[in-house]
């Protein structure tokens, strides 16, 4: 399913964060010292369960939310600066537009704000196959149509970087498949795509590299092939304490057999509940 791609220049970073953090209070840490690097031309999947800090990170990269500490560079400039935003197309969570305006008028408003020619509106609508309903009010659109208008809006600027936050959220299976194919096509061009998702299957299909975030921290990063090829044992157990008990027992078994197994890589407490244990037994999945 996943295409073979060549990343143009490994050293050419489009997004670079250093210890990026967002705290809403002493107890609530949305993002904790995030180190993230997205290279030019790649489709980067930002994977994590709901509430892991994906959207907050993307909002910080777009200048919507100020980091509590740390730094970020997007396309070489500070997040939210007009020079950067002119080259970024974004869809954050649910697409939000003026409900009383048609899809076409909504794009007209955005094109004027973005300073791009309004001649780009019709091609963008055509690209997401929304031309036939472009004259109808946004409030009459189905969720799938709203998502497609959101993508059209993100494409208006012909951006170097696309930031898409769970673009298939709430869509039916057919719509999801259609949207994923569309994003794959977008990524085949020269642009960079940063896609957040809580679905492993989705990033597997679309992305070249994946960063896994949990509780605001980047807990793993690598190519899809690396993540796929890593030998691992997947456990699903409820409650979490049960998973921890099984993992502890496995660790004990491996140690007693003199195995080189390092450690439990992660326990992810939200759904789907999983524990991964690197295994010394190939194919023990």
């Amino acid at each position: 399913m996943r295409r073979a791609r060549t990343v143009a220049c490994m050293g050419d970073l489009v997004i670079e964060t250093h210890d990026l953090s967002k705290r809403y209070s002493d107890r609530i840490v949305a993002v904790d010292r995030l180190l993230m690097r997205v290279r030019r031309g790649e489709v980067y999947g930002f994977l994590g369960p709901n509430g892991a800090g994906k959207t907050t990170t993307l909002r910080m990269l777009l200048g919507l939310v100020r980091p509590t500490s740390g730094t970020a560079l997007v396309l070489g400039v500070a997040p939210g600066s007009p020079e950067g935003l002119a080259r970024i197309g974004a869809l954050i969570e649910t697409p939000t537009f003026y409900p009383f305006l048609s899809g076409r008028d909504n794009l007209r408003v955005l094109a004027r704000h973005a300073g791009v020619s309004e001649t780009r509106i019709e091609p963008a609508l055509a690209e997401v196959e929304l031309t036939g309903r472009a004259g109808d009010r946004f409030r009459t659109y189905s969720l799938g149509m709203k998502q497609r208008l959101g993508i059209a809006a993100a494409l208006l600027k012909d951006p170097e970087l696309l930031i898409l936050d769970e673009p298939t959220n709430g869509m039916d299976p057919a719509g999801m498949a259609e949207m994923r194919a569309f994003i794959r096509d977008l990524g085949r061009e020269t642009r960079t795509v940063l896609l957040s998702s809580h679905l492993m299957s989705e990033v597997e299909q679309i992305c070249d590299r994946v960063g896994v975030i949990s509780k605001g921290t980047l807990v793993g990063e690598g190519t899809v092939d690396e993540l796929r090829g890593r030998e691992s044992l997947w456990l699903r157990a409820e409650p979490l304490e049960e998973a921890e008990r099984v993992v502890r027992a496995l660790r004990g078994i491996e140690q007693s057999r003199g195995s080189t197994v390092a450690s439990v890589s992660k326990l992810i407490p939200s759904q789907p509940l999983r524990s991964t244990v690197p295994s010394s037994k190939p194919g023990s999945r």
């Binding site: 777009l62 919507l64 939310v65 002119a86 003026y98 408003v109 704000h113 973005a114």
Partner: protein, 275 residues
């Protein structure tokens, strides 16, 4: 910036609430400035009001509605212009386009300021038509106020509405929505300013405070344009019995309100997270 303003004009022009508010405000202004007084006159209870209904008193007859009733409509316009962006989530969509936050803020303000122009012009135009019709029907002389007085009236009307709209903008940005902002705005105009103004003549400390109220300065401005203090004192929920201040002071205080409210709104919009 020009294209951002054009974008905001498109939003304002296609938004039905703009036209609904304009329609209701115009209707109420005409009813209370011309229809009710003329019906009262025709019923013979008093021959006094007719003079105020003639074209010569156009400015004085219309301006009495701006400080409170017009203000409440402008407040709602200001709240809707910014509060709805939070409610619909469109602010984040706008802020991820090219312009910076302050440029979008400026574009929205310019569109809002321009929207207030028909709120003054339409009321004046229809008021002129109503006064002309009454004069012709009653066989009275049709004499118009000076162009200078009309211009001052238009300017004062716009300034009063602009201050109230700016107050609405600040409330919307503070509360990041519309409902609370409209509620607090109306509560402030009716309860805080209304009740304290009513107490002003009895408590000297409040008297000094009231001089800086929107209501006091707006009414002071319009009384200088021909609105009678008696009419203001019997203006229902928008009534005001003083203290009045000089016209220049009123303009200065209102302009200061406008500047402070807009600077505070812009600062908040620039500083706060958009979630």
């Amino acid at each position: 910036m020009t294209r951002s303003v054009a974008a905001e004009f498109l939003v304002v022009r296609k938004r039905s609430s703009t036209w609904i508010l304009l329609g209701i405000w115009t209707l109420l202004a005409l009813i209370f400035a011309y229809v009710v007084p003329y019906v009262t006159y025709l019923n013979g209870s008093s021959r006094e009001p007719l003079g105020d209904l003639l074209p010569r008193h156009l400015v004085g007859n219309l301006m009495g509605g701006f400080p409170f009733f017009g203000g409440v409509f402008a407040l709602q316009l200001g709240v809707l212009a910014f509060g709805s962006e939070y409610g619909w989530g469109t602010l984040k969509t706008l802020l991820t386009q090219r312009p910076g936050r302050l440029r979008i803020f400026g574009a929205k303000l310019l569109a809002l300021a321009a929207t207030l122009v028909p709120f003054v012009l339409v009321v004046f135009a229809l008021g002129a038509l109503a006064s002309y019709a009454i004069a012709v029907r009653e066989g009275m002389e049709v004499a118009w106020p000076s162009a200078w007085l009309v211009l001052r009236g238009l300017g004062a009307g716009w300034l009063i509405l602009a201050v109230w709209a700016a107050f609405g903008v600040l409330l919307a940005v503070l509360s990041r929505g519309t409902s609370l902002a409209v509620g607090i705005g109306i509560l402030y105009s009716l309860v805080i300013e209304g009740l304290l103004s009513a107490l002003a003549s009895q408590v000297s400390v409040i008297d000094r405070l009231v001089e800086f109220f929107l209501r006091a300065n707006a009414y002071s401005l319009v009384t200088g344009l021909g609105v009678s203090a008696d009419d203001v004192a019997s203006n229902g929920p928008g009534s005001f019995s003083g203290p009045f201040v000089g016209g220049a002071q009123a303009v200065l205080v209102l302009a200061s309100y406008l500047a402070v409210l807009l600077v505070a709104s812009g600062w908040l919009l620039r500083r706060r997270d958009v979630v």
